[in-house]
Symmetry: C2
Subunit: 397 residues, 2 copies
């Protein structure tokens, strides 16, 4: 008989996916250019030509059996060596190839990291607002995700709420900075405070508490700032990355888990991840993509369009009277809705062909997410629709 | 704390992997050309130029964001449509895109298929000799793998033993034809007998019993025969395939699950697999590989070298007095060892720089596997070493 568990999951489609499907349907009616779809976090800037050239050169010059051959289950050794060297140079770390595990995107990285440092029944804390898929990545391991209510002032961490949820069952804290959906970049102060609380609790409880740091937006930061590298501040940390956003190659599914060389059993994490993969039949990410990316480390798409778009939207939101935290990075912004029920708010927006995502599934009802990975021209054209929506639906009341 | 479960798995490395590591070490001492490594099932024939050309054309002509963009979680729709059409034409089936789920190789396909049609505690039968990783794919779902002892006469199915293991807890039967390690291709008669036993048992037990058919070697068959397409003979069947062997691209990790349109809930299997992926953070295989393969369906590498190699080895084994079933396909052969303890037998072979894998981990002690995905020239050079090994170690006794 087919599995009841997975059959039941079919009913609960992601809200983001639902909004995006509505947008696709609407686009058929009135033309895609007239639907202002802020629902999906899909990169909107081209893949760098250098990456494409590298792929072509590999196809032209490499022995095909080497290029397309099995990688080791932790990832191709020479690739991991290059990644370690790059991270050490960039963030002052001491990774070796043995600290790295190549994954299918940040999703695979987070799911593996959770399995590596928890056991069924353990608690994993995450901070609202948070990426809704965390619920699946954590709960399907048998561990339990607990959500720390949001610091809606700045979308940093509400430490008072955080400390209330820490218990001896806490095995890991899953954070995401720069943050989807808020666009907030955790400050050095936030990360230091988090680290010091956890260090004290590790002593108190007599066991490790890992930080699993989900960092696919690490390279999309604004105002010339840099996102602090979480693993520099806390030993028991696993850094999860993806090239989906920085190189605009989400479909190629390449990411990694980097185990802090100072963490407990740091040399076991990557081999353990390989064992985790074994049980799900996953093995390793595509070899040609591993090799191509390892030869362009540090390269990114032209990410400046996201900052341009953010500034346009942020300014218009402020002009329209929204309460909103200015994003420090990503391609998301997370304003407060103009009524308490953010689902109702987003439904009204659909009348204006604006596709917004209610904050509820991010653990932060009353807010909504706009993903501004769109052409700037379209973002500009969306602003009058946003103004009209606000004025017609909320100004008269 | 790091997971005890995965930490403990680290101790139990695959025997095949151990043999192959020994071979790599020995190659450093005496030169790779002097080590006759029959341990690893790695394709040894080049990727077809047409595939490389297709990859190049995609990189040159396609919009990069489309080419490298997110695929749907079941796999790119247009890709699945092409796969369905190809399978229908080739095997007379009635698949639509909705019956297909794109996976990372056959490994991902089998692991997903098991999760889709079992629940923890269910029993999954497989037939010795069997691919040892099945143990992990099945047991990590919470289902239990039970092994039907081998039919060592022909490496078909020992139905008497098979029927003894069928119980109301049997949820699925995992078969592999053409078979790794035996090289046997299940005959039409074998598949029909299997189907009729299972149909009767489904009625008796009042629930579905699925056949999960692992078919990565479907295109490597000898003597001009064709491997019967299992799903043509049994409705509740999931066909698992990989392009690793037929296109020599094991590192690119592309395969699929095809749910028989006549199986129970046939349209739910693929969406359920997408939910399974969600929990492991896997999502979907690399987009450029999905697209490139979909445009060369039916193309294979020049697979004839495997038949050439098989004939050389088979003849020499016969000459040396081995008891051996002539393979109908794959790039494996599975002779009876010359002493009861096949581990001792393979260890003695190492003195002659012959790397063979004992049958024990395939559920068939007393036999050994030779993977002959090597250059024919090397296979020929290995034969005197094999002869010397047999004569020195066994003929005098």
């Amino acid at each position: 008989m087919v599995s009841q568990k997975y059959k039941e999951m079919l009913g609960a489609k992601s809200v983001i996916r639902q909004m995006s499907e509505w947008a696709a349907g609407r686009a058929k009616e009135i033309g895609g250019e007239n639907v202002f779809d802020f629902s999906l976090g899909n990169p909107s800037v081209p893949v760098p030509q250098t990456f494409t050239d590298k792929m072509m050169a590999l196809l032209q010059n490499r022995d095909t059996m080497e290029l397309h051959g099995y990688s080791q289950s932790q990832g191709i050794l020479s690739v991991r060596e290059k990644f370690a060297e790059f991270l050490n140079k960039t963030y002052g770390m001491d990774y070796t190839s043995e600290h790295l595990f190549m994954t299918t995107g940040a999703a695979g990285a987070v799911a593996h990291a959770v399995r590596a440092v928890t056991k069924p029944g353990d608690e994993v804390l995450t901070i609202a607002p948070f990426f809704p898929e965390y619920m699946h990545y954590v709960n399907q391991t048998g561990a339990v995700l607990k959500v720390v209510p949001a610091d809606t002032k700045q979308f940093q961490i509400h430490f008072e709420e955080f400390e209330k949820l820490l218990t001896p069952n806490t095995a890991a804290v899953l954070i995401n900075t720069p943050n989807n959906p808020s666009g907030a970049v955790y400050s050095e102060e936030t990360i230091k405070t988090l680290a010091s609380i956890l260090e004290a609790k590790q002593k108190e409880y007599g066991h490790d508490i890992f930080i699993i740091s989900d960092e696919p937006y690490r390279d999309i930061v604004f105002d010339g700032i840099e996102a602090p590298y979480v693993s520099s501040y806390y030993d028991n940390s696993l850094s999860c990355y993806s090239f989906a956003k920085s190189l605009s190659i989400p479909g190629e599914r390449l990411g990694y888990v980097a185990a802090n060389p100072k963490c407990t059993h740091s040399l076991l994490i990557s081999p353990m991840c390989a064992q985790i993969s074994r049980g799900i039949g996953h093995n390793c990410p595509p070899s040609i993509i591993q090799i191509a990316v390892s030869e362009v480390l540090g390269l990114t798409s032209d990410l400046s369009v996201y900052e341009t778009n953010m500034n346009i939207i942020y300014q218009e939101l402020i002009n329209l009277g929204f309460e909103v935290v200015r994003p420090g990075g990503t391609f998301y912004i997370f304003p407060k809705a103009l009524e308490e029920d953010s689902v109702a708010f987003c439904q009204k927006a659909m009348k204006y062909d604006l596709v917004l995502v209610p904050g509820d599934s991010f653990g932060c009802p009353g807010y909504f997410r706009m993903a501004y990975c769109l052409e700037t021209e379209k973002v500009k054209r969306a602003m009058p629709a946003l103004r009209k929506f606000v004025q017609e639906e909320y100004s008269s009341k």
